[in-house]
Structures are given as structure tokens and as C-alpha cells.
Amino acid sequence: MADLRLTPLNALHRELGAKMVPFAGYEMPVQYPLGVMKEHLHCRARAGLFDVSHMGQVILRAPGGYEAVARAMEGLVPVDLIGLGAMRQRYGFFTDEAGGILDDLMLANRGDHMFVVVNAACKSQDIAHMRAHLPGCEIEEVTDRALLALQGPAAEAVLAAMVPDVTDMRFMDVGIFGSEFGELWISRSGYTGEDGYEISVAEAQAERFARALLAHEDVEPIGLGARDSLRLEAGLCLYGHDIDTTTTPVEASLSWAIQKVRRTVGDRAGGFPGAERILDELSNGPLRARVGLCPEGRAPMREGTLLFSTAEGGEAVGHVTSGGFGPTIEAPMSMGYVPAGLASPGTELYGEVRGKRLPVRVVPLPFTPANFKR
């Protein structure tokens, strides 16, 4: 696998017996010997360790401190960043002039500066976007730190043995902590629907830190395969699949991430790319919506499966954007886009799988209840 970038944990993944695959320009573990299904179930039952070092970590500073960065960033992201409390983070997205989504990201107020985490596949484009549109901000990509996620009900106890103060963190809190592995940048968040943390650690300490976490009997390493089934059960979007430049945040059922202050009646209404369309959709409803889909049989309906409103004839009314099998719910599950009139839970549709239209029901997301520490 030539030309692929390696994370600081590459040698450890190989030692653990991971099957490595190319992903967003990196060589990443897709699964370990435990296998996708057992990795998934282990993460929900105890704790899983994920290497997410391929994601982009970026620090933004300005002479006016966090508020100045937040004010500038609100011009790119339809989220209340000025009102974000110190040492708190929020989910958001870069939008384009048509109201589509350029990438989704996490944004944190770290007191005197902003820290953001962006998707691996989008990071160079995101950094160029910020450099072009945030004049007066200094944008520094952090390239000497690994990013790990520790997720699952046992995550708190495992991490607290090394960093006791993490027990005091609530969902979406961020903190900077000293430790025997150097300074750790920790957020209580993740991509599984479970309680847990994302931890940025200096590259040179990353392997030793990962080994210390894995030494705990409750922790297993988890690959990209289970990361995908965990996030799908949790109803979370994968950029490039469930959201992209052809989907607006409102269509994507992400309106919850757009606080009132940025909406039509708010004090800082609009002022982000695509505001006209997005604000209109917030007021009047979108033409289509991202929904959960529960196939009635056992056959998974994967990405690209066409959706129909009738068992025979007619044009496709929508399509699946993510689909697979949910190990926790022990059933197939999908997400996709359907017309607003067919988006209510309970609506019966048909997915065309290998030429056969099979029944599928619109269901509320997530498939598994979130287990966050609020």
C-alpha cells in the first residue's frame, strides 16, 4: 500500500493482528482478530479503543481571543459559537453557498482559542477553506499528535485510573490534563452513541498510552468496520455518504445543531454560506429528509438501494445512504433520504434489493438509545 500515510499506532495495529486497509489516504485497521460483530458488541458492553489519528486537529487563534475566532467562524458554520461556553464543544458543519454540507466537524471553546476536529478525507480542503475565509485568524494544523477514542460504558473507569478528573466531565465537555503520557486534550464525546472520550496525545507518547488503555481487561481495540456499524446504530451521519454538498443540514435532519440565535428570528440570524436556503427550509420544511429505515426481512439494504412507495411500478422516491446489519439490534438497519411526505415514522416503503422490492419501514433514529453522561 504505497503512498498511504501511517498513524503513530500503525505498528501496534499490526502487532495486534489488525487487517489494514486504505482509508482517506491512511492505512487504517478495519478489524482485529475479534471481528467486526464482536468488536461492536464489546464496545457497547464494556469499552473499545479506536485510532482516529487520521482525523484533522486544528487550532485557531486570533488577537481578539476565542470570541474573535468564534465570530469569524460563524461566517462559515451555522452554529452558535460565540455563545459556546469555555471548555465546551459543539457539533457543526461547513456549508456552501447552495446550502450543502462541505464537512461536519467538532468545534471547542478552549478558553483563549478554538480547537476543531475535522474528517480525514476533508481536512486539506477544510484547512484551505478556513485559511481563505477567516482573515485575522491564525490556523495551525496539529500534525504531531495522535487522536484516540475510548468508547463504552467502562470508558470512564478505565480513563479515570490515569486521569481522575475525567469523571467530572459531562457530555461535550473538553479539558486539558497533565498525565504520565504528557498533556492530554480530552473531550467527552464520540461517534458510537456510547459514553466515552476522544483523547489527543503527543505522537511520541501515543503507543505507550494506547498500550496502557489496552492493558485494562475491559478494553479491546476496535476497527473501522465496527466504528461504522456503531455510528449507524447511533443514527450518526458519515460524511460523503449520508451528508455531502448535495444535502442541506435541514434535509439531513441536523436542524438541532443550528441554535435559535442563528435562525431567522435570532440575534445573529444567517450570515453563513447558504443561509437563504437553510433558513427557508427551517421555516417551511425541506422537500426531503434523512430518516431511519428498518427492513422487515433479514436482508440488509446497503448504500445506493433505491426506495419505492409501492411494491410494483413507479419511480424511485429516495435512496439509502448507509445500510448494514446492527449487531446490537440483531437486525438490518439503514438510513436514507425520502420525500418529506413519506418521512413519518411508520411509513411503509420498499427497497429494491437484487431486483426484488422488499418492505422497509421508516423508524425514528437512533436505532440504539444514546448512553451519554449529560
Binding site: 460483530m37 436482508a299 446489519f325
Partner: protein, 119 residues
């Protein structure tokens, strides 16, 4: 027992041929979550797609290794697809086919040749 390049095994049982996938194939597929079996009585031609296996990762087809009639399918797999991972060479056979030209079996590898093929 004979083996195909598509990682199927064929075992002669009286005048029928039992078809399954190899241990190697089941490991490559990952956890199997759904098996779509053919209908009993279906006439198939070599290389027809007769079974679909969905694993946690992707869907794959099993091709008919020979011409003939599907005379029995392993219904257990519809309810317990995970058996394909647990016992691919034994209990998790997919279908039994009545060959119309048993000579087609001669084209396939024996176990030693198959082991060499996957090594």
C-alpha cells in the same frame, strides 16, 4: 472433495453434489448476517448466481459450480446465518444439486491444489 477458484467446496453424496464455502472464504467474508437461498427445483447453469451471502462488510454471490437442479437447500442458514462462520465445511452447506453432467466436477481442484491456490 473438490474446490473451485471461487472458494466453494463440492462434496459428492450419492448422486448429488453438496456445495458450501471454504473456511478461507468464510474468514475473508467476516461475520455472515444474511443468506439468500435459491428455490428447490430450480434448474441452474454453471456460473449462475444462486446464493447471496451478506456479511457485516458486503454482499457476495455464490455461483453454481456445475449445471443441474437444486434439490435441497439448507434452511437453517436463513435463521442462523452465523453458522457459515462457525462450521463452513460441515453444517453450513448451502445447497444440494443433482448434476446434469457430473464430468464438470473434473475441472475443479483437489484439496492439495486448493491449499496451494490460497497460500
Amino acid at each position: 472433495m473438490k474446490f473451485t477458484e471461487e472458494h466453494e467446496w463440492l462434496r459428492v453424496e450419492d448422486d448429488l453434489v453438496v456445495v458450501g464455502i471454504t473456511e478461507h472464504a468464510s474468514e475473508q467474508l467476516g461475520d455472515v448476517v444474511f443468506v439468500d437461498l435459491p428455490e428447490v427445483g430450480k434448474q441452474v447453469t454453471k456460473d449462475d448466481e444462486v446464493v447471496v451471502i451478506e456479511s457485516v462488510k458486503a454482499a457476495s454471490d455464490i455461483l453454481a459450480p456445475i449445471d443441474g437442479e437444486i434439490v435441497e437447500v439448507n434452511e437453517v442458514l436463513a435463521d442462523e446465518p452465523g453458522k457459515v462462520n462457525e462450521d463452513p465445511m460441515g453444517d453450513a452447506w448451502f445447497f444440494k444439486i443433482k448434476p446434469s453432467d457430473p464430468g464438470q466436477m473434473d475441472d475443479y481442484m483437489d484439496e492439495a491444489a486448493y491449499q496451494k491456490y490460497i497460500s
